[in-house]
Structures are given as C-alpha cells and as structure tokens.
C-alpha cells in the first residue's frame, strides 16, 4: 500500500491573535478530486496556503507522497510536484500569456518547457491564440485558465485550486469545473476549494466541510444532500 498523495494531521495556523485553523486533519488519495467547502472565513484558503508553504504552521504535519514537507520552502514544494492556483488567480498582469506560462515551468528543465506549453494549449486553446497579449488584459475566465495553465506547467502531481469559479459567468464556471475533471482524468490529483458548493460536490470524489477553522463533516460527495449542505453551510435554520 503506497502512501496517500497528501496527508495532513493536526494542522493549526494562526494569523496574529486569530487561530484560523484548529487541529484539522485530512487526506487526499492519488488520482482523486477532493473538495474543501465551507462559508467565508472557514479556513479553506488558509489550508491551501499552509499546504503550499505561504503560511507558517503553529502545529501539525503535512506529508506529501509520504515525505514530510511542513518545513520546506514554498518554492521547493513546487519542484517536488505540488502546484497552487491561488485565489483571485494572481496572474502576472504586465507579462504576456506566454511569459506567464513559461514562469509556470520555472522549476522545470528549459528543454521540456515547449512540450508542456503544447499540452496546456491543447487544454486551453484560447491561451495559444492570445500568447502575446498581456495577462492583465484577459477576461476573468481566461485569466483563470491561464492561472490553471501556469500551475500545470510545473507538471504537478497534486494541484491545489482555490476558488477557480469565483466571479465568473455561469457558462465559464461550468467550463472551468469540467477542466478540473479533465485534469484529474489525466492523472493529476486535485484538492479543490470552492464557494460554489454544489458544483464542487458534484465533481469531487470526497468532500470535507470546514467551519470556523474546523472540519465539521467529511464524506463522499454523493452522501451530501441539499438539506445536509444547508445545515452544514449556512447554519441550522435555513
């Protein structure tokens, strides 16, 4: 039995006086989509930031393919095979689409970058068409594709995605979520944070629900119905 792709145990993170994550544990198996949902301020983004090394932990451990990484610098984690599509996309606005993608392959040997570029363009043809355009001039949906494409350029085995559907038109949301499935089908494991709970539950293999820094529910997506979701998400009375 090989180690799971990702295993977190007892993770605790503080922002100054605020305890944003309190002793959470979760596990992501190879080749699956795991969704992390919950309302604002539940600690979803914080979890991803702690995983990719943007935040220091107060306690707990993170093991990636069996190797402890909680003390590893953020940039090393990318090289190890973990990529993070951040909230709000954070493309480099005054650099071209192509440069953004090249930067995504920063940790890869230069010789293999063009092959990876082809792969990303096959996934998002529009990025190929706009390769010379400044990333800041793309539409929200295109920027999201670029952010995902940039993350894929590092050939991650685990992709952390933070709210990829935020602020997008419904059609675009659909397209992005389909892409997530496609990425999983290519063999990349995905940990997905979403506010669009229904969408996330539909496509994921396993779901964790966070509330105020704690995991309040975990199960297969199919076991979560509307009533349960409302209770977990919006409070008991809705």
């Amino acid at each position: 039995m090989t180690a799971p792709m990702l295993e977190i145990s007892g993770l605790t993170v503080r922002y100054g006086p605020v305890r944003a994550l309190n002793n959470i544990s979760l596990r992501v198996d190879r080749g699956t989509i795991v969704a992390l949902i919950g309302s604002n301020g539940a600690g979803k983004s914080t979890t991803l930031k702690a995983l990719s090394g943007l935040l220091d932990l107060e306690g707990g451990s993170i093991s990636f393919e069996g190797e402890p990484i909680e003390r590893m610098a953020a940039e090393k984690r990318v090289a190890r095979g973990m990529a993070h599509v951040p909230e709000g996309r954070r493309v480099f606005p005054r650099m071209s689409v192509w440069e953004n993608l090249q930067l995504g392959g920063y940790t890869r040997p230069e010789s293999e970058i063009s092959e990876d570029l082809d792969h990303v363009v096959s996934l998002f043809p529009v990025l190929g068409e706009r390769r010379r355009q400044y990333a800041g001039t793309l539409s929200g949906g295109e920027q999201q594709m670029l952010a995902i494409g940039r993350a894929l350029m590092s050939r991650p085995r685990l992709l952390l995605m933070d709210e990829p559907s935020m602020g997008l038109a419904p059609q675009m949301v659909e397209l992005i979520l389909e892409t997530v499935t496609a990425i999983r089908d290519e063999g990349t494991t995905v940990l997905l944070v979403e506010q669009n709970a229904a969408g996330a539950i539909r496509l994921s293999d396993y779901v964790y629900v966070l509330r105020v820094g704690e995991i309040v529910h975990q199960s297969k997506g199919s076991e979560i119905d509307d009533e349960l979701l409302k209770t977990l998400y919006l409070g008991h009375d809705l």
Partner: protein
C-alpha cells in the same frame, strides 16, 4: 417608523470595475439591518462608501435628512456614523483606554492654550471622556484590560474594543463589518448579546455578517448584495426563503 439612513442609487467604480451598482437601502431608526452576500459581492465597498473611505461615483446617502455623500470620513463620523473593521484595525501601540479615547476624538473642544496651560476646561473634558471610555469598556466587558497594549489583547477582546471605540463617537448608526469573523460559538454568543444591548440603547445598527444563525437571531431586516447589486431586501424569513439567495450562496444546483 422613522427612517434614519436612506441610500439611493449608490454606485462605486474602480477603474472599469463597478463594485457597487445602483444600490438602494433604507434603515429604520432603532433597527438592526443586516447586509449579506457572498465573497466579493461588494459589501465592504458599500460600507467604505458609506463612511467616506472610498469615493462614490453616483447616488445619494442621507442620514437624518442630511446629505453625506462626498463628505470626508471625519465629517461622516461627526454626522453620526461610525464603524468597525472586518480585518481589525486597532491602534496596536496604544493602550485599550487610549484606543477608546480616539473614538471620542470628535467631542474634544479644548484649544491648544487649554492644553499647554492645563486649564480646568481641558482637565474636565479629559476626565469626562476617560470616565465615559471606562464605561464603554465595562459595557463590552474588557474594563480590566484598560492599560493593556491593544496589540497584545486576545482576539475576541480586540473585536469588542473596536465596538467600544466606535461607540465612543456616540453614533446614531453603528456599522459592524463582520464582527463575528474568526470567533468560536461561545464568543459569538457573547458578542451577539453586546450587539443586542447596543440596540437597546437606541443605536441603529448595520450588520454585515456571514453567520446566518447570527443574522437570523439579531436582525430585523436583511439586504442581499450579489455582484454589487441588491439581490433582494426584506424580513429575515422572506430573504432566507428567496430562491436567488440560495443560488448565490450555494451554486446553481442547490
């Protein structure tokens, strides 16, 4: 029922982006009005526009018949609106009592000469507001921390200090921007009680919050912002049964 605040057609643009689009809101004196909406719906921008911290591009804000749009933040405080911040903004290098006293800033009338010569007017004024500040600290339950540095205060107490500080401006309308964020349920209950008692003092409250239980428990009416526009406005029950609200929060399939 008397109307305290009337916002009509409020619009805020940042460059090409319209963060708040033609929002109307009317708040009855003495009520608790909730404002909810998903992340990025424009709630904070709305509050910033109300308090003069961002410039509105259109629309009117009227408090007690007095037009407030295009006023500077300190003029808006003087008119009777004061706020707390979602991401706590205390004066970390000042004590709890000093923080509270900054909230009372607008009431100080002593001249420079009063200060330099320590006139009785200055001393009386200082004593009066120190007493009032101490009372407000007592009111929110952090009186024993009065000489502690605000930055070292426990998180839940920092939220309370923000409320006490805002109360010291003697506002007619208190804006609470996600006061419950990051709190556990016991802390939330205590804070909810404080909010209820603020309302009992006759102070009108605009409450921005994500915790629906709290909204349900405290507020008289709820307005929902989505993509910068008012999705719906009404009583708590009406709004929570509104199908569009669920969609906005849960995604299309829910």
């Amino acid at each position: 029922m008397m109307e305290l605040l009337k916002v009509e057609g409020l619009t805020v643009r940042f460059g090409g982006l319209v963060a708040v689009k033609n929002v109307n809101l009317s708040i009855a004196a003495g009520s608790i009005q909730a404002l909810i909406g998903p992340n990025g719906a424009g709630k904070s921008t709305f509050v910033n526009a109300l308090t003069g911290m961002v410039r509105s591009s259109g629309g009117t804000i009227v408090l007690n018949g007095k037009a407030l749009h295009d006023q500077k933040p300190h003029q808006i405080v003087a008119a009777g609106i004061c706020r707390t911040f979602q991401n706590i903004r205390l004066f970390g290098g000042m004590t709890v009592l000093e923080n509270a006293l900054v909230g009372a800033h607008r009431h100080f009338k002593s001249s420079m000469l009063d200060l330099v010569f320590q006139s009785s007017r200055m001393k009386d004024e200082e004593a009066q507001w120190i007493a009032e500040a101490a009372e407000e600290l007592e009111f929110v339950g952090i009186a024993k921390y009065r000489d502690t540095m605000a930055s070292t205060l426990p998180y839940g107490h920092q939220r309370r200090l923000e409320i006490a500080r805002a109360l010291l401006s003697k506002p007619e309308l208190l804006l609470l921007d996600e006061p419950m964020a990051g709190m556990n349920s016991a802390e939330k209950d205590q804070l909810a009680q404080i909010i209820t008692r603020v309302r009992q003092r006759g102070i009108t409250i605009l409450l921005i919050e994500h915790d629906m239980q709290i909204i349900r428990q405290l507020s008289d009416r709820v307005a929902v912002l989505h993509h910068g526009e008012t999705l719906t406005e009404g009583t708590v029950n009406d709004v929570f049964n509104h199908i569009a609200v669920k969609e906005a929060y849960l995604g299309r399939a829910a």
